[in-house]
């Protein structure tokens, strides 16, 4: 090979790197390892994580411990789906492109909005992308965001907004739901978009249609983040006046993976199609008239439009979206609805069961589907610690994201959480709150004292 190139050694090829910029030493990393040793090392690290196989997991907050059917792995692990890249050559990428088209159809059905993209990175950054779209569509630079929107989404939106330049105004919650009066006051003729989430971060199902009136009145886009697993039973965003519906796709066919990779779905009104972020598959024909699929509307995208692109994204999370499509096909029309019903009923049972525990009360009474918030009469951290000792991850503490609910705990239910596990959670919470209640009164006494001093 060197002779064909006409050099003496590989080192000659690196001579274009100026000498002072050559590393001139080995990287300070360990030497390579055998496959068996790497497997053991990674297994050892994995073994130091308390996963949902080891603990009974009531954690949610946007990602949920659903059962992923075996055929999802079987199909997504096929080389033909796992190892190609973006379908730039459609004639040899019909499998991936058709899967994207089917996925778009499914997400459009779920949200009841006419157009869908092939997928974005994940949930919160999809919210930020909707902000960028709204600025382009309205020419305005102000967002009104419900405090019920996932805190990660709100923070990501603010991060992106610091770049493209937009003001973010937050609207509070009342009884677990977006404060309608405050929202109506906050939306003005300069508002580019109103952001809601339903079910919201505290699990409450919002009346999106009623809340959206303020957006319609001022010509702002209504952007609704949603949990796809609830759309078998909840009225879809498209029927509630949403211009954009989006969200975290993990519950559909994707593992927890400590937070990713998953995908974000993004659906919208017909007139927004040419402003949409990311890949979109479209139907067409080949020269002989056969039905086929291609990447459509590429003139929106960075590789064609460069600085005038509607977004910088290239990644469609195609494999994750395929997993979602297979999961949805497996559930099917009836199974998908039944799963929604199952979640709602198990959650209703869990909510009632926990509310009956001494030292536990509901944080709000708003309707919920698969997640709800409670208030504990004991420090949440200590209670979680006790529950973990009994092999239960009891929920997501609200303190960091909602300091006003420092005593709050968010509890999530999936089809994997049985009645027996819910009963065990109730019992564990009761015992833990009782055992830790002294800590709470200690805390209360302390704050009472400091109030006296001040």
């Amino acid at each position: 090979m060197l002779a064909t190139i006409g050099v003496e050694s590989v080192a000659d090829l690196f001579e274009q790197v100026p000498e002072p910029l050559r590393l001139g030493r080995p990287l300070d990393l360990p030497s390579g390892m055998s496959e068996a040793d790497v497997f053991e090392r990674l297994s050892e690290l994995a073994g130091r994580n308390a996963d949902a196989e080891e603990e009974v997991c009531f954690l949610g907050a946007g990602m949920y411990d659903h059962y992923v059917p075996a055929i999802v792995d079987a199909i997504t692990q096929r080389s033909e789906f796992l190892t190609p890249y973006t379908p730039y050559q459609p004639e040899i990428s019909q499998g991936g492109l058709q899967a994207m088209f089917e996925f778009q159809t499914a997400m459009s059905e779920l949200t009841a909005l006419p157009v869908a993209t092939a997928g974005l990175y994940e949930g919160p950054s999809s919210v930020a992308s909707a902000g960028y779209l709204a600025i382009g569509a309205t020419g305005r630079r102000r967002f009104v965001v419900s405090r019920g929107v996932h805190p990660h989404s709100r923070e990501t939106l603010a991060t992106y907004a610091s770049g493209y330049g937009a003001e973010v105004v937050e609207v509070g919650l009342e009884g677990g739901l977006t404060d309608a009066a405050e929202l109506a006051d906050a939306v003005d003729p300069e508002t580019a978009a109103v952001f809601l989430q339903s079910p919201n971060f505290l699990g409450s199902v919002e009346d999106v249609e009623a809340l959206g009136a303020a957006a319609r009145e001022h010509g702002a886009l209504l952007v609704v983040a949603t949990d796809p697993m609830t759309l078998g039973i909840l009225r879809p965003p498209g029927d509630c006046g949403a211009d954009v519906a989006l969200g975290e796709g993990q519950p559909l066919g994707n593992r927890l993976d400590f937070g990713g990779p998953s995908f974000g779905f993004f659906c919208g009104a017909e007139e927004l199609l040419r402003r949409m972020p990311g890949r979109i598959a479209g139907e067409t024909e080949d020269v002989d008239g056969r039905r086929g699929f291609v990447l459509a509307l590429q003139t929106r995208e960075q590789h064609i439009r460069r600085e005038k692109a509607t977004h910088n994204i290239c990644t469609a999370q195609a494999l994750n979206a395929l997993g979602a499509m297979v999961h949805l096909a497996w559930l099917g029309r009836r199974g998908f609805r039944e799963l929604g019903e199952l979640l709602a009923r198990r959650t209703a049972y869990a909510r009632q069961r926990l509310a009956a525990v001494s030292g536990v009360e509901l944080l709000h009474e708003a309707p919920v589907v698969r997640e709800f918030a409670v208030r504990l009469d004991a420090p949440v951290g200590a209670v979680l610690e006790r529950c973990a000792e009994r092999g239960i991850a009891a929920g997501y503490p609200l303190e960091r994201d909602y300091p006003e609910h420092a005593d709050g705990l968010l509890v999530a239910i999936t089809e994997r959480r049985t009645r027996e596990q819910i009963d065990a959670l109730a019992e564990a919470l009761g015992a833990a709150v009782a055992a830790c209640a002294d800590l709470a009164s200690y805390g209360n006494t302390k704050s009472a004292q400091s109030q006296e001093v001040s």
Binding site: I5, G6, D12, L13, F14, L21, L23, L29, G32, L42, G47, N49, A50, I71, I75, E80, F81, L82, T83, Y88, Q89, P90, E91, G95, F101, A106, E122, S125, T156, T159, D207, I233, R235, L256, D257, F258, G259, G260, G282, R290, A296, Q298, E301, Q302, R305, E307, A309, C314, T315, Q317, A329, G332, G335, F336, L339, A344, R345, R346, A348, R419
Partner: protein
């Protein structure tokens, strides 16, 4: 019906929705085991959906058969050579899939208490350290989900860095050879992009750069080796010019596969680097994701990194170190996404780094550069040498760019025709029509995991296509013939977009 259809061409595309028959199903759900009141008693009727979404009704055997058949309509890296320039289509070791699927990784909830996710946080810490060493920059955030997400992060970091110094800058420089994501990210970050010209050696045109450098420049974005596969020898001087006016230097890490263990962006003077874990570090490309785009930064950029950051604390008193998520970062640009990033990708890439080690990574880059130069040399022989000349004739790094201009002029064959004819020969074509400054460009990146034989086969195929085109150029212009569908009407798909199936 056209004559001589292949079996797969005869099999027309049918979607899973079209296979649906009322009453069929796959899933059997668990019994609820709890009281089952009507939904209206739990949720007000006006918030409920009347009709369930029209998902397909199909049994499991049909789902499996449907997607298996679809998969056969894809070309993939495990099946054949995939020299798609700038995408680093290297082999994806199956070990990495196995370790990512361990329950301790796959079923770990992202909101798990850090004290009970120590293995995951340690893995992230170790990956951060490895990337820092490879990039020559001390601090890493794993949060960005892809290269373009890393670019946006880098520009927002630049903005925050300047704002912290009371400066407001408006321009970002990028060469005309830059990936399309660079200018798109610049606009999203609220800057104006200023193009810098390329010199006759394929590097940054220094006079043009000098003219455009000013105190209004926030950042210069560069890929090195660049998209022509050439290392910019003036990089130290370029870095000096940008730093002199207080700008940052951003390294698009798409081409890091050329220099691992040989040269480090940090040592070249870059402040911010993104790393495409799905390129250099072997995460499978998945048909267009998932990937991940961690960033490595210098000390002066560190305070602004996204939160949370993985940190290592203490040890001592007979206790081991503890890993944690640090949210208390007052100067941080904030979050770029939910939770901690694409952890499943981190697992695969860390397994890859462990497998190869320091020596293996350096050798991977050497072989990538060797393979590219060998294939380039093979393509300067015979017909390719005159019909498809190298755009910049010098040794390349991991990829190189050919120009189909003479081929088009002499044979009437566009680069697109050559690409489509390659499909009939069982190859994925190179990246076409990029970079933009090369007419009829073909960008070829073979990667280190190809054998000499596969490179020879590819060179032979190009030669054969050019030879047959001399006899009958129409052959390539109408290609492909053997693929599941033939040339597709992309204009129609954009003029009259059908982006979902109508279900009546």
């Amino acid at each position: 019906m056209p004559a001589g259809e292949t079996p797969m061409q005869r099999e027309r595309a049918v979607t899973i929705f079209e296979r649906s028959k009322p009453g069929r199903r796959a899933a059997v759900l668990p019994r609820s085991g709890v009281p089952e009141p009507p939904l209206e008693e739990l949720i007000p009727a006006k918030l409920l959906r009347e009709e369930p979404p029209r998902l397909p009704e199909v049994a499991e055997p049909e789902i499996v058969r449907h997607y298996n058949r679809l998969s056969r309509r894809n070309f993939d890296l495990d099946t054949g050579f995939y020299p798609l320039g700038s995408c680093t289509m290297k082999h994806n070791p199956r070990l990495n899939e196995r370790v990512a699927a361990l329950p301790g990784h796959a079923r770990l909830h992202p909101a798990q208490d850090p004290r009970r996710a120590q293995g995951a946080l340690e893995l992230m810490w170790l990956l951060q350290g490895s990337l820092a060493e490879i990039c020559g920059l001390p601090h890493v955030s794993l949060q960005p989900s892809a290269g373009s997400h890393g670019e946006l992060a880098g520009l927002l970091l630049t903005r925050a860095y300047h704002a912290d110094r009371g400066e407001q800058r408006t321009k970002v420089l990028a060469p005309d050879t830059a990936h399309g994501t660079n200018p798109a990210s610049v606009t999203m970050a609220g800057y104006d992009v200023v193009k810098v010209a390329t010199n006759e050696r394929g590097g940054v045109e220094m006079d043009d750069l000098r003219e455009k450098v000013s105190e209004d420049v926030a950042c210069l974005m560069l890929t090195n080796p660049n998209t022509l596969g050439l290392f910019d020898e003036n990089i130290a001087e370029i870095a000096g010019l940008i730093h002199e006016v207080g700008g940052t230097l951003y390294y698009d890490g798409a081409n890091l596969n050329a220099v691992m263990g040989h040269s480090r962006p940090g040592d070249m003077g870059f402040d911010i680097v993104h790393v495409n874990l799905h390129k250099s570090f072997s995460q499978p490309h998945g048909g267009g994701g998932p990937g991940a785009g961690p960033i490595a930064v210098s000390d002066r950029i560190e305070p602004f990194l996204p939160r949370p950051q993985v940190v290592k604390r203490g040890g001592g008193n007979g206790l081991g170190p503890q890993y944690d998520l640090d949210f208390d970062r007052p100067k941080s640009i904030g979050r770029l996404r939910g939770f901690q990033g694409n952890f499943g990708v981190f697992v695969r890439s860390y397994a890859y780094i462990l497998s190869l080690g320091a020596d293996g990574l350096a050798e991977a880059s050497e072989t990538a550069v060797l393979n590219a130069n060998y294939l380039k040399a093979r393509l300067t022989e015979g017909r390719a040498g005159s019909r498809l000349p190298i755009a910049f004739d010098r040794h390349c790094m991991h990829e190189f760019v050919l120009s189909g201009k003479p081929m088009k002029k002499e044979l009437g064959l566009a680069t697109l025709d050559l690409a489509k004819r390659l499909l009939d020969f069982g190859f994925h074509p190179p990246t076409v029509y990029f970079p933009l400054l090369v007419e009829e460009a073909l960008m070829v990146e073979p990667t280190e995991t190809e054998t000499k034989e596969s490179l020879d086969d590819f060179a032979d195929a190009i030669e054969e296509i050019l030879a047959e085109a001399e006899q009958d150029p129409e052959l390539a212009k109408r290609a492909p013939y053997t693929t599941p569908v033939r040339r597709l009407d992309e204009v129609k798909a954009t003029r009259h977009p059908v982006v979902r199936q109508s279900l009546g």
